[in-house]
Amino acid sequence: MNTLFLYFQREWKLMFRNTGTLILPLIFFLIIALLFPFSLPAEVSLLQRIGGGVIWVSAVLATMLSLESMFQADYQDGTLEQMVIHHRELSLAMMGKVLAHWTATGLLLTLFSPLLCMTFNIPSDQIWVLFFGLLLGTPTLTLIGAIGAALTVTLRRGGVLIAIIILPLYIPILIFGAGMLSQHAQGLEIVSQIYTLGAMLVLALTLAPFAIAGALKTTIN
């Protein structure tokens, strides 16, 4: 547990040293979501109906875009290699790193999602559904994405490859996250979706760290 905190802290310190890059995923998220109204007929009801899905897709894309940088800096200055070689609890260390990364991407854009909801005229009770859906879903996105990031760290142009590997795997989370919203809009129960998203998060929290550590061990040698 100590390792996890240590790496979480380390990542945080490193991230806050450079606030400019820290908020890039957030800005990307906002811009992507705000592109949709321009490409659609200007009807309030339409935006209201599809707004939740648009915000989910933007969150997925913003998370995916931020993945490439997750291990990149540590790989380039050689720290990652040292970690892989020396660390006995590599999976825990990587989990700390990934969770810290999530606070700067998933958590941050979840916090700003209500703002976007207002521009889409989404009613306030639905804003809460979206907010908690993103809160449960984005850590899973980051954890699964980290596997792809770990597999492609050593590649010079890994960004496109990450997208091809990871996006198909994101579909279940997207289905349940956005499905929760449309279900709630129809006045139906959303407990089962919350449970499913929670189960996926637990599964990702337990399995992904080992996959990430394994992937790093294979690619960095």
Binding site: L155, L161, I164, P168, L169, P172, I175, M200, L207, A215
Partner: protein, 259 residues
């Protein structure tokens, strides 16, 4: 000696033989014509029975004959993935070189079967449901499977060093095994929410024997074909990978002299 230990010994020996590229190549050389022959016989007889002998469906008429290529392709798309993932796991756990060869040679074949299942499915869908594509659970998860195959192949070809490429590909295909069922069920849940399963109602009567026999023949024909194509591709892969080995040189010289 009890029978189990004999079987175990046999498996153990075959396993070790398969682990060596040279033995693997020899076995593949012998197995290839057998698999090819069996698949040819099965597919020809299946096609004959399916196209000529099987009666037309009372609901779908003759269009149901697409089933004899569609279902085998769909079946194989999953079967090949399971083979690929199992081979990947064997390769990662026991560091068996040839398992990776099987895995990476399976990926494009699986992608072809998946694409075939999608294309024939949509050709079949046009006259029966009146549309080329619907966002049905099975269609959607098959499409995602195709993208996962692409991802696995892209990962393999992105790395310059072969060993890293093999391991990275193997890891991804194992991650896919965990996620493919989740994708399937989530997509099923998603479609059952949004649209009724009216088009895909399956409650029809069970297939009579004269319709079922050709289907089974075709499925086995496709499976043997997969074995055949896999061995062909694997031979090529082994030859390129082991091109510096002495046995490959001797083999090439031998075939060269025969000519």
């Amino acid at each position: 000696m009890n029978p189990f230990s004999i079987i175990w010994k046999f498996l153990d020996r075959t396993y070790h033989r398969l682990a060596s590229p040279r033995e693997f190549y020899t076995i593949a050389q012998y197995a290839t014509p057998i698999f090819g022959f069996l698949s040819l016989i099965l597919i020809i007889s299946g096609a004959y029975l399916g196209l000529f002998e099987a009666p037309a469906d009372y609901q779908q008429g003759d269009s149901f004959r697409i089933i004899y290529v569609h279902v085998p392709a769909a079946w194989l798309s999953l079967f090949v993935y399971m083979v690929m993932a199992t081979a990947s796991a064997i390769g990662l756990i026991w560091r068996m070189k040839m398992a990776f060869v099987v895995a990476i040679c399976s990926a494009p074949l699986g992608a072809v079967f998946t694409a075939l299942a999608l294309i024939t499915g949509s050709i079949w869908g046009k006259p029966i449901w009146g549309t080329w594509w619907t966002w049905d659970a099975r269609l959607t998860s098959e499409l995602i499977l195709l993208f996962i195959y692409f991802g696995v192949m892209a990962t393999y070809y992105a790395f310059e060093e072969r060993k890293t490429a093999e391991k990275a590909m193997a890891m991804l295909s194992i991650v896919g095994v965990v996620i493919v069922p989740i994708i399937h069920y989530s997509v099923e849940w998603w479609t059952s929410l949004h649209q009724g399963q009216t088009i895909f109602a399956e409650g029809g009567p069970r297939m009579p024997a004269d319709m079922l026999t050709p289907l089974i023949l075709m499925i086995f024909g496709f499976m043997f074909f997969y074995g055949y194509a896999l061995f062909l591709a694997a031979q090529n892969k082994v030859l390129t990978q082991e091109r510096k080995a002495r046995w490959v040189r001797e083999l090439i010289q031998k075939t060269g002299n025969q000519r």
